[in-house]
Amino acid sequence: MTDRLRQKRQAGRLLMDALRQPNDLPLLSIEDWDLLLRVARRTRLLGRLEADLARLGLLERIPERAACHLRAARVVVAHRQTRLTWEADRVLWALRGLEVQVVALKGVAYMLAGLPAARGRMAVDVDLLVPKEQINSIEQRLLDRGWMHKALHPDDDRYYRDWMHEIPALRHRERETEVDIHHRILPRTSRLQPDTRLLLQQTRAVPDMPIRVLGPHDMILHALVHLFHEGEPDEGLRLRDLVDVADLLRHFAGEPGFWDGLVPRAEELQLGRPLYYGLIYSRQLLGADVPDAVLQQAQGSAPSWLVRQAMDWLVPRAMLPTHPDIPNPTAALARWAIYMRAHWLRMPLSLLLPHLARKFWRRLQGAFKSRPPPLSADEGSKNSPVKE
């Protein structure tokens, strides 16, 4: 039992140590490697570990079997990144002549801007931000040039268009990569309403491509919005989003005026609260170097003492990986609470309740219909986007 308890604690700590101190990875025992690989895979940070070790020249000094898993992750990351860059290129090609400002978000933005946050990062979709007025012409143009929407339940389609911050995902008929076209960074129903026009005013150019990326502050704020306003009941808060934030902070800290402008910009966009959480937890969990003065400034958007206590308890439990074989009811509770919080922030109850009821009803119908589709190795690798 004590061993189990030790293992249970170990899972999260192993990964956090690996992220903070990749230098020490060659010292890990075989059992620790076994567990680390599992939790890193689950949090989609295997590629990140590989990139850190490669940068430090330490890949030769870890167990061969672990190196195989990391090599496999590197291969997948490289392929994924090529595919995403290519897809972004194709979208820009399709939009040629439309005179539209396209801004890359998240993974694709980090890649195109050559930021350290892109290294080893397993991105899946191409996320783009465009002005709301042009969303119809963009959608039409993509539909004309071979992109399609997934078959969507009419309820869901209407819901997307009425309330969401993006249109239903598009996918080219010959390629698997999903393209998400956003016109704002949070749903229309959300309590916070950062103004897209403000974001579009401070974008930066990408060399040699007719696409832009968000300014440094906005890039960080968007990553934080993603982290604290979306949650999944299984996964809780995505650790890799916090890793992005820590990377971006570290990278942009060198730019003159970066720290001075961060909090004011967050307040201007109504995002002071997520920034406050982001600074606190990236410092606490990932050792990000946040100046005290900035933290002090961010305090202005801190929640009440009680909420702060609750979040301090919930966030690490919802974010750190747990042992894959040992059920952890505390973590499950924290994840569920964070998921509920995210829903609460995204939607007023008058919308949320009917939405959940519809979802539940359709799930119930589905439960009586679905039978396992055939699955074998040949289908597994070709058709699934391999979201492991």
């Binding site: 490697w33 599992r38 074989d325």
Partner: protein, 275 residues
């Protein structure tokens, strides 16, 4: 591997008896389990879930299909995780240090040929995955229990009475499936790689006369490339590996309806190469 399912455990003991138990202190490629599905899904039909690291990558299966389900689950894990290797959808066997690959689509009769060959003097590498190591282009063995489908089961019973065939699982999405235990020697030598020497693209066609015909290298290249699970993921590495492999191999297509004839043709092909 963990499971509380008794009939599955029994089959595991039998089919995997030659494999060493893992040491506690080791890195395990896939931690898998087969468990009963949640309580509300057990009625009216009992269902099982395949878990990797505690999560199900596939939907539940009927209880009665426990062993095939495990096999498909492991295939899926490999196909997703082994991207440090080039993965061909191919049966592979070895004789005198040289490997014969049978890349084929499902239903083209590669498993049947594979089982027949490994009961005729060849060592089993794998009936499903041709694993190529990018560092040196060698093939890696993966001698697991091999599934036979439908009519193949009786064909093999007649051809190789010594084959250790397990119970039939009926009504799976691939029809009736029964497994053949990998020969002890193949399991004992599962760490010895081999060099690819022959590429034969088999295809079983009812009542067809036997045809063994050479394939020109460019065609063979395309056939191997499109047969790989992760050709696109490996990119340049895969291009180079397939190129070297096709260069180093004699390449043929084999159309057959009679297993004995096919075996004789393969024997002749691989024997003459030694002269």
């Amino acid at each position: 591997m963990r499971t509380p399912i008794k009939p599955l455990a029994f089959l595991l003991h039998h089919f995997w008896q030659d494999f060493p138990l893992i040491d506690e202190h080791t890195i395990v490629d896939c931690h898998v389990a087969v468990v009963k599905h949640q309580i509300y899904r057990r009625w009216p039909k009992s269902e099982l879930l395949f878990l990797v690291d505690g999560r199900p990558p596939t939907p539940p299966y009927p209880f009665a299909h426990h062993f095939p389900m495990l096999e498909w689950g492991i295939n899926l894990c490999l196909a997703r995780r082994a991207n440090h290797l080039l993965m061909l959808h191919s049966a592979v066997m070895e004789r005198q240090g040289l490997a014969l690959l049978l890349p084929a689509r499902p239903g083209h009769g590669k498993s049947t040929l594979c089982v027949a060959l490994i009961h005729s003097g060849w060592r089993l590498f794998s009936d499903e995955f041709g694993l190529v190591r990018p560092e040196d282009g060698l093939l890696l063995p993966l001698p697991r229990p091999m599934p036979l489908k439908n009519a193949s089961i009786e064909v093999i019973r007649a051809f190789a009475p010594q084959a250790d065939i397990g119970p039939k699982f009926e009504g799976t999405h691939k029809g009736t499936v029964a497994h053949v235990r990998p020969p002890t020697e193949s399991v004992q030598r599962m760490d010895e790689p081999a060099r690819p020497r022959w590429l034969v693209f088999p295809r079983w066609v009812a009542d067809a006369p036997l045809r063994l015909e050479p394939v020109v290298k460019p065609d063979a290249f395309l056939m191997v490339a499109t047969n790989a699970f992760n050709y696109d993921i490996l990119g340049q590495t895969a291009f180079d590996l397939v190129g070297h492999m096709v260069d180093a191999c004699d390449c043929y297509t084999l159309v057959y309806s009679d297993l004995r004839e096919a075996m004789a043709a393969l024997d002749e092909l691989t024997d003459s190469a030694h002269d």
